[in-house]
Symmetry: C2
Subunit: 151 residues, 2 copies
DNA sequence: CTATCTGCAAACCGTTTGCAGCGTT
DNA sequence: AACGCTGCAAACGGTTTGCAGATAG
């Protein structure tokens, strides 16, 4: 995964979708494209302000919304009810998420199509979404019982 | 599943856990023990007020909290980020949830222990929770494109 | 030059807390 | 009679909206 190439690709897509390339947007794109972690709006805000002091929280929300709409990031739900945003993966993936620092790994999940097909046939439900997610603590957070490190 | 027996059982457990049996609590217990659907706090509030006009939303929250603490109901997360509460099932179950009316079915899910074991070994994560949930539209909601019916 | 974007303030929604009076035990 | 419980009002945290000025195109 080449982060700086991704940044260019994301900025390109933003622009070709009719959005303007502004300083705050560049900052947020760099953060999201470069992070292995799922970040919440406030984290993006704080990390963003480190390099771009004037950044506003509203801009963070609006930019994340656009990036999600363009399929560049996706929203993940945590057990405590919060959301974070994550670089989108190629195709549908299943996640393993560290509930402490937000580190995300994908894993070779079982293919759920047979399961959803069977359940759909059994119940008459139209199934249009499924979640297979694992939550835990990553090796790093298990050793240092401290705070998450930079992305 | 015998609903009125469940109500008695739930009230018993509440009382033997040191909580008082009050009119609002009885109302909420009857609702939750009798529903096949996952209900959000506001729905419990509205349905509860139908038979108990003075019921307050705060009481709903506090009672749901106690019922969850006693293991009688559990919280489920929906794709839109909202929560609803659901009669607890016996043991860990996987859900199929109607995103329109909240109807819940459990399904014979694959046993995920081998998967979590393997992923844990591969990644070094301590895995302490997993979600395998399917979301869709139940047969009823597919035909009537209307609102959810009473529980 | 124009339309979009930004950041502030304020509104908003779901949830939690403080508190005086009520009701269970 | 004592204490827990209720319901109102107000606080709260995360998110959204309105708007005047700044900025990309």
């Amino acid at each position: 995964m080449n982060t700086s190439l991704d940044v260019l690709r994301w900025l390109d897509l933003l622009q070709s979708s009719g959005y303007r390339l502004t300083t705050p947007r560049r900052a947020i794109v760099e953060l999201m494209a470069g992070s292995q972690r799922a970040l919440g709006p406030i984290e993006v805000f704080d990390l963003g302000r480190a390099g771009h002091p004037g950044l506003g929280l509203v801009t963070v929300y609006r930019t994340l919304e656009k990036l999600e709409e363009l399929g560049l990031i996706e929203r993940v739900h945590l057990p405590d009810g919060c959301h974070r945003y994550l670089r989108a993966t190629h195709g549908h993936q299943h996640f393993l998420l560290c509930t402490t620092c937000g580190l995300v790994q994908t894993f070779a999940g079982d293919n759920l199509d047979p399961l959803t097909g069977r359940v759909s046939a059994d119940t008459g439900f139209a199934i249009n979404e499924h979640w297979l997610q694992l939550y835990g603590t990553c090796p790093d957070c298990r050793s240092h019982i401290t705070n998450p490190s930079e992305p």
